[in-house]
């Protein structure tokens, strides 16, 4: 009888051919392709960002040759915690916790650590010294975009701001905005609005229209989330103010690139971390832990500034182009020990 482990090994070695080639050079337990099982336990999964994150996780897992299980709680905090227990019961070697709530994940993460499983957390603070925290630096994202805004518009301008409090990444981006405003007293914020009503871009467009008509002197809009920026752009276009207003944002997607490149687009720059790269880094960090190496407690994936001019100059039309033509966006030199195989590009 073929044992289950041998069977997974066989499947694994067929599916993970690149892993096989590297297998011999990698430290235990990766010298035996397909023998390592990891689980990705997700809290958020709907939308372009999370799809891209997943694809990064899948590619890096395939490159190393580990068997990946994806458990998706679809924004159910209690279920996500149960899924960690389910992963423990499955006998996985490592777990990546992707988003979630500190309150519900802290104990679950500790149970996994107690069971001898290596754990990595992405964008959720599980408050555990044994668990490295992978983060995209939201403060750096906001800083890069705002530095560009200051460069383009000087240190004195009338600004509108899109913000919804209580969303962790937006709160961190807000800290930077508050600091930039304090450092530049010439910035006069006259309007603040924001909503997460679905479809977000449409709801934000309605609000931005109101804000622009109440404050026609706004010249800079800081919308630190691409759905917000898309909404503001629709409103600016409809108010025929695209020559006057500049939009600065965070995050990027193929449709954002198209919107930034439209003729006379008000959307001047965005700062972004490639979600696929964050996914790859999450897996590599976990792999380092499994190999007995120390990735450090805070693993930060640095963002890239993407300007309208850069997109036009390099003729970038989608995310693949962006990765191909802007190397900083395609790969982050984080958690890359010498033996680590990288996904093929």
């Amino acid at each position: 009888m073929i044992s289950r482990r041998l069977f997974t090994g066989l499947i694994g070695s067929v599916a993970m051919m690149p892993g096989l080639a590297f297998g011999a050079d990698m430290p235990a337990p990766f010298d035996n392709p397909g023998a390592v099982k990891i689980a990705l336990v997700r809290y958020l999964s709907t939308g372009d960002f999370f799809q891209a994150y997943l694809s990064g996780v899948e590619k890096q897992a395939a490159a190393i040759g580990v068997d990946l299980r994806v458990l998706d709680s679809r924004q159910d905090a209690a279920l996500q915690s149960d899924m960690v227990d389910q992963a423990i019961a499955l006998g996985v070697d490592g777990i990546i916790i992707q988003h979630g709530l500190t309150e519900s994940m802290k104990d679950a993460a500790q149970r996994a650590v107690d069971a001898g499983i290596k754990v990595v957390a992405f964008d959720v603070n599980v408050d555990n010294a044994a668990i490295p925290q992978v983060e995209q630096s939201d403060r750096d994202l906001a800083r890069l975009a705002l530095e560009q805004a200051l460069k383009d518009n000087g240190t004195s301008f009338t600004a509108g701001y899109v913000y919804v409090p209580g969303i962790a990444p937006l709160d961190r981006r807000d800290e930077t905005w508050q600091k930039v405003k304090a450092d530049n007293p010439g910035i006069n914020q006259v309007a603040e609005f924001g909503t997460l009503d679905n479809p977000i871009a449409n709801s934000v467009a309605n609000q931005a229209r109101s804000a622009l008509s109440a404050n026609p002197d706004i010249t800079v809009m800081f919308a630190p989330y691409d759905e917000f920026a898309k909404g503001v752009k629709i409103a600016v276009d409809e108010a025929e103010m695209s020559g006057k207003v500049s939009i600065y944002s965070a995050d990027v997607s193929t449709s954002d690139i198209a919107a930034m490149r439209e003729d006379g687009s008000a959307w001047k720059a965005t700062a972004a971390t490639n979600p696929a790269v964050v996914g790859e880094v999450s897996v590599r960090t976990l792999a380092m832990l499994l190999a007995g190496e120390d990735p450090g407690h805070n693993v930060i994936v640095p963002p890239t500034l993407i300007t309208q001019q850069m997109l036009n100059d390099l003729d970038i039309t989608n995310m693949e182009d962006l990765s191909a033509k802007v190397p900083a966006f395609a790969h982050a030199d984080v958690s890359v020990p010498g033996w680590m195989p990288l996904p093929q590009r």
Partner: protein, 338 residues
């Protein structure tokens, strides 16, 4: 005694319109730039999509049904129209026709589930809602649709949103000022008038009201209850897909969205509509006023920098007040009269 009754009657009939007028005066004083033609058009544009959906809900409410799937139909139309143009590279006209056909088909299925399979309306349309939210994401594996996106098979989608299609959501016609009124507002007004005429003045509309108030009596009087119910769901599906098409034209891409907010906002507008002119029943004019009321509130509050949660709060408060108007005040009068 007579005086008091007539005062209550007056309050029921015109209370809501007076409240709306007061609100306009209040915002006119508090928010600079509120009382301009531009501001009025912004408000109409911001409620155009939910307003059209709300008119669909009204059609199902009239026959005593309820359509929970409209938000999902709208976002499905948003994704479908994008898919037709960007991936299949077909024309604007085919995108519109395919979406309308999809809306009608979903309405037909909803109607058949309710009428033939005897599934309660809330449950049938709830099921349809989940089905559509999932189905619209299958072709793109959950990603938004835009030109240049990579498809699951690795190729790149090269189709574009045609200019004619985008114009549906963006083109503005000259009225008072040049380039003032967006086409979506024209659609809203035309559809509102169309639904109003259909429900209030045609024999079919009256039969639908009759079915809504007493299905058995209407059936005994010779109305084809099942057929009218199916038609009501089809109207709802088609109007929801019109809303989705306008949404796609405004956004210029196929956004992954559940449409739950569209559903809630449009149901709220239709329910607020019960209170307008003391109708105490679903009606097209009230629905349009209800949508406008919510739009005025949100526009005014945003101009005054009110955060989003106060807007949700105010929206909820308006709905509760409207329902009190409908059920407590006029309900009491209705029983007394009856």
């Amino acid at each position: 005694m007579d005086n008091r009754t007539s005062l209550v009657d007056l309050a029921i009939r015109y209370g809501f319109l007076v409240l709306m007028a007061a609100l306009i005066v209040f915002f006119g004083i508090m928010a600079e730039g509120f009382l301009t033609p531009f501001s009025a058009v912004f408000i109409l544009q911001s409620v155009a999509i939910t307003g059209i959906l709300a008119l669909g809900v009204t059609a199902t409410l009239v026959v005593g049904g309820f359509d929970l799937s409209i938000g999902a139909v709208a976002t499905s139309a948003l994704m479908l129209s994008s898919y037709v143009m960007v991936v299949w590279e077909m024309s604007a006209l085919s995108a519109v026709l395919i979406c309308l056909a999809m809306g009608a088909f979903v309405g037909l299925i909803n109607g058949l589930l309710v009428v033939k399979m005897r599934v309660p309306d809330l449950l049938a349309t709830l099921g349809m809602m989940f089905l559509l939210v999932g189905a619209q994401r299958i072709p793109t594996e959950g990603r938004s649709i835009s030109t240049g996106m990579s498809l699951p098979d690795g190729s790149v989608a090269n189709g574009k949103f045609s200019e004619a299609f985008l114009a549906l959501g963006r083109h503005r016609i000259d009225f008072i000022a040049p380039n003032l009124v967006p086409l979506s507002v024209i659609f809203l007004i035309a559809i509102a008038i169309g639904v109003w005429v259909f429900l209030e003045t045609t024999r079919h509309g009256r039969l639908m009201y009759a079915i809504g108030s007493n299905q058995q009596a209407a059936s005994l009087a010779g109305a084809n209850v099942n057929r009218y119910k199916i038609v009501a769901y089809m109207i709802s599906g088609v109007l929801a897909s019109v809303g989705g098409i306008l949404l796609a034209a405004r956004l210029g891409r196929g956004d992954v969205a559940s449409g739950n907010n569209l559903l809630l906002d449009s149901v709220a507008a239709a329910l607020i509509g019960f209170a307008v002119l003391g109708a105490s029943k679903p009606n097209a004019f009230g629905t349009a006023i209800g949508a406008l009321f919510v739009g005025i509130l949100l526009q005014g509050l945003t101009m005054m920098n009110a955060p989003y949660y106060t807007q949700d709060f105010v929206k909820g408060a308006v709905l509760v007040i409207a329902l009190v108007f409908t059920f407590a005040l006029s309900g009491r009068g209705g029983r007394a009269r009856g």
